[in-house]
């Protein structure tokens, strides 16, 4: 009896210390002068729904929560976006957090189309930037943010892409991600956001 109790408390101890772990640095690190440098998302320059130029420097002091989408995407984006909306609502007043959505179909997603979409979702920049620009560069960003994009005429909307939501810290390092269509993963992702916020509280 006592033994089970001991075992049980050890178990909870183990689980609880694991939970308080810092979030890992994801992706393949670079080795520079024998030191491991974590993967960071690349530089970019795109334009948002309000015709403002946006680049990586706008996120120097911000945690980014990013996804890839296009406004006419029929299948997974609506679900991913409604989960992004939950995050947007929760952190509406938190200056540390910004949301960013990269369009994968810039031909259709003009600034005007993005503006319409933003208004329909009742979201505003710069808290949540919807970005468009050169297609090759937008598709190039996806790999940096752990997303896979393939143009495919057979796919719904003509573009086959993954619906990941990615958490990027203030130094551009990817710290967590979730499948944006999976409720359980998104719930865990919400906890990961809290963990990352805690890191910045201590420092």
């Amino acid at each position: 009896m006592r033994f089970t109790f001991l075992l049980f408390s050890l178990l909870t101890l183990c689980i609880s210390c694991k939970d308080s772990d810092k979030l890992p640095f994801l992706g393949v690190p670079e080795i520079v002068d024998g030191k491991e440098i974590p993967h960071t998302v690349g530089d970019f320059s795109f334009v948002n729904q309000d015709s403002q130029q946006v680049n990586q420097n706008d996120y120097q002091d911000q945690i980014q929560i990013a996804d890839f989408f296009f406004t006419t995407c029929p299948t997974i984006c609506p679900t991913v976006m409604s989960n992004m909306l939950k995050i947007y609502d929760k952190y509406q007043d938190n200056e540390d957090i910004r949301l960013v959505s990269f369009s994968l179909d810039p031909k259709k997603d003009t600034v005007a189309a993005l503006k319409q979409y933003a208004d329909n979702l009742e979201i505003s920049s710069p808290k949540w930037n919807l970005l468009t620009g050169e297609k090759k560069k937008l598709h190039g960003m996806a790999a940096d943010y752990f997303n896979i994009v393939v143009e495919d005429e057979e796919a719904p909307g003509g573009i086959n892409h993954s619906g990941k939501i990615i958490l990027v810290d203030k130094k551009g390092r990817v710290r967590a991600y979730a499948e944006g269509t999976d409720e359980n993963e998104v719930e865990k992702f919400m906890e990961d956001i809290e963990k990352l916020l805690k890191e910045y509280e201590v420092n």
Partner: protein, 128 residues
Amino acid sequence: MKSIKVVLIFLLVTHFSCKSPYQKGENIYLQHCSNCHGKEGEGLRKLYPPITDELYEKYSLQLPCMIRYGLNDNLVYNGNKYTAAMPPNEILTDIDIVNLVNFLDWKYTTNKAFNSLADVKKKLDDCN
């Protein structure tokens, strides 16, 4: 023996009465429609309209055609214009559409009309 049968039937009836009788249609809705219109038909802000009794009534006649070929009607509801288009769904078969329409009729109409495969096929043939 007899009383067991009675209890069994009672259990069976109560079991099914809490669920929608159109389980197949409901599953199709959850798989192909709820991403935009919401699990309970609540819609998504001003982007995708909710499905309400009132709106459903207005669109129910053309529903099979809309499901297959999409809709770009800029419909206005509650003072909001929905500018997004509903995309065509080329995956759902005629039978899927019958199941889906019967589920939606059951959920959003009072007369709960039953559509046969022939009814829906005829509508699909007449889409313009």
